[in-house]
Symmetry: C2
Subunit: 465 residues, 2 copies
């Protein structure tokens, strides 16, 4: 597709776009050419740093004129290769576009440039005595534009939904270089197809998001956290149901004893329960009123009475809360040394026990050497499946086996009508598995929509499909 | 576009689709050919009543084969002519498809056929000790399919959002007769463009929604209602802000003294305040805990201290709550005898005072005989503008003047970057005004998307654009 060589592109950019900040040293090409996945060899032609919308438009028009593809780039914390440049694309980094454009106290909305980090937006909201509820581990580095382009989720989805529910306005530059404003910060606006929702989750394939208007909300009150020991995994969705009925859940996380044992071995916290259990749940509730703790006590007693849980520990002060959360937060870190093969899937919560049981059965039979570690945001049906490399296997043997396993995982996800990418998007890595979550027909419509917006195929080509 | 005559279409349907229930008597053609707007002359060729998806597919395939347009039809309570058939279209009524397909207690989701009424769904949820929060006056007649096709709003949007936020799965029949399942009831699913959100609000132009999976929530606790007298309209958004900060708002409605006086004259309730005010707010809050009333008292005292409100009355028992709500609910009924020219617009809430002031100034200068009545769901920026016919004007004089006024209303809405249709959709009536809320570019993309899904232009043609 690209006919120009690296130097030709660099020379063209320098002569046609002399006013744009750019970088072409090897370090920049490497760092800006990849996300948090090391699977691909980054190979962009040049990195551009526009300072405002007019410069983005200039770049996109240039890209069209010379048919040079663009990879829009934010914090590059993705886990699917969606921001990866492997074929001499120009990376358009929004890092110099990170300002607040407008804050409206009455509307409780903030308009920011797409290069602002997730955490910076959280702090902007906090400074106004308001709250931006999207939160996840990479918040210090990830950017709002990327959050929206991948419909970011995170740890508070059960209470606040995905970022989709907080975007009330977008400014995008289309692949033909036109500026388009979508929805203008309105709450109610039924005037035809809502293109805003098409751009959310489009992974940079339909245009470059340059500004977003975000709805904020009131800050949550104090929270209470607890850890539960659960023998029978089939009871986990029932426990979730009872929590949702009477309490305001902010988080509901799940992990197996295998996962916990890795975390305990890694250390850094003291085990909050006294006995071993097959499975664990950590919950966080917002304590809205004085009776909150009584309500919680009642739910916990009820769960014991029903035989759904076998031990519990409740944390109310900051240091105990922190200690309970570490049971869950330590798991991914503790697994790193096993070079785990990761997956990020979702099913309806009621299907989670059967999915885990069937998957374990399948893998234990066919790959008895594999240790499978389950944990995740089970409250919204999202599970992280990690397969650990056995010591006796070489990395390449392991990778080859996991690629086969992945196909089987996806087949099971399809059987339960789940998603092969709950919150990480498709990017490059999950392209072969898209067909397990979307029908041929739906993928064909997606392709046709892409062609409408990007007739010259210059915007993040090769991603999603 | 239609080459066949009415009888030819009827004969064709009878010979090609003998198994489908149908009606072609004059009453049916009239009743199923229109929504709640009397502006258009209904003229469908035949009314079809499929009983299941396979029959819908049969009908759509037939429509393609003979190039006969289809108008998908639910409860026909729309106010924009979106379900109107004026050119020998076949109306496909979903009224025989109104069953519950599945309820999942653990997922708290219900899957229903599109012809189920809004109220029936509310009752289904209630029977399961859960809650479907979309609520509005026509709920007894309107259908879920139509609710989704028009992204229904209503009185609880400030707390629960539009129906868009409650749809976790759709089954649609595309204009080429293919069945397509979207999102499968998942909470997290980042696998490419979310076509579900394209169908929500598409007003039957992209296909026929036949089934929906709806997320339910816990029932709200008891609520407290109050009415506030407000002198200066500029303070209304500030009042809203203070309510949102400390209380859980379920509704926040606004009306002027002109609106209230019409309601009082109409009667049926006792005025809850003691003095006259320029503007009024009715709020409803969810009383989440014992301290709730103290919190409310504090907000109210604060509003008095700041000089934002000048009188208040709080209702806590069902009959007082009912009486307060009647101040607002009586307004549209009371206006009917003035044959009002209605509009349904939205702006960001902070812009509401300036919009009302500018609009009143403009209309009072240019149309001093007109009485303008403002009321609406101001908590989410949605205002209903009603212009009353002066006694001395003939209906046709009035209609002609209002069409000019409407253009000016839309120009002001555009100036404030608002929406010319907050919750009623575009249909036929608002087509001339779409350009005030959407750019040429955006409308062009919408047209292109329509062509992808409906290459033969058979699905609700002429609606939206």
């Amino acid at each position: 597709m690209i006919k120009l060589k690296r130097e030709e592109i660099q020379n063209l950019v320098q002569s046609e776009l002399p006013e744009i900040s750019m970088a072409s040293d090897n370090d920049s090409l490497f760092n800006y050419g990849k996300d948090w996945i090391d699977f691909y060899v980054p190979d962009p032609s040049i990195i551009l740093f526009p300072k405002h919308n007019a410069e983005v438009i200039r770049i996109v028009s240039f890209a069209n004129k010379f048919s040079i593809p663009i990879v829009p780039s934010g914090g590059r914390t993705g886990l699917s290769g969606g921001a990866t440049a492997t074929g001499l694309e120009m990376v358009v980094s929004l890092k110099n576009m990170s300002s607040v454009i407008d804050f409206n106290a009455e509307d409780e909305t903030i308009t920011v440039q797409a290069g602002m980090s997730t955490q910076a937006l959280q702090l902007e909201a906090e400074a106004k005595d308001l709250y931006f509820p999207i939160d996840f581990a990479s918040k210090g580095t990830s950017c709002i534009g990327g959050n929206i382009a991948t419909n970011a989720g995170g740890i508070h989805v059960i209470r606040y939904g995905m970022i989709r529910e907080w975007v009330v306005g977008l400014k995008v530059i289309t692949p033909l270089g036109q500026e388009m404003k979508l929805n203008n910060g309105l709450i109610k606006n039924n005037t035809g197809y809502d293109l805003r929702h098409l751009f959310i989750g489009s992974e940079g394939t339909l245009g470059i998001i340059t500004e977003a208007t975000i709805k904020l909300t009131r800050k949550p009150r104090e929270t209470v956290v607890g850890i539960l020991g659960v023998h029978d995994i089939q009871n986990v969705p029932k426990i979730l149901s009872l929590f949702k009925k009477d309490l305001v859940l902010v988080a509901f996380e799940f992990f197996t004893n295998i996962a916990l044992n890795h975390a305990i071995e890694y250390g850094g916290f003291s085990y909050a329960l006294t006995r071993d259990h097959n499975n664990y749940v950590i919950f966080e509730i917002e304590n809205l009123h004085e009776k909150g703790i009584d309500d919680l006590d009642q739910v916990i007693s009820n769960l014991h009475r029903l035989g759904y849980i076998h031990e519990d520990a409740i944390a109310m002060d900051p240091s105990s809360i922190n200690n309970v959360w570490k049971h869950r937060e330590t798991i991914p870190v503790a697994l790193t040394r096993f070079q785990p093969y990761k997956n990020d899937i979702s099913v309806r919560t009621s299907n989670i026990p059967d999915l885990i049981i069937e998957m374990n059965l399948l893998l234990n039979t066919q790959y008895p050497d594999f240790s499978i570690v389950w944990f995740g945001h089970i409250g919204d049906g999202n599970l992280h499946v990690n397969i650990l490399k056995p010591n006796t296997w070489t990395p390449s043997e392991f990778k080859a086996a996991c690629d086969i396993v992945n196909e089987k995982v996806c087949q099971l996800v399809e059987k339960f009508e789940g998603s092969v990418s709950a919150e990480h998007g498709i990017g490059l890595i999950k392209k072969p598995f898209l067909r397990f979550s979307k029908s041929e027909l739906e993928i064909e419509f997606m392709r046709s929509i892409k062609k409408i917006f990007d007739p010259n195929s210059i915007m993040n080509p090769g991603k999603i499909f």
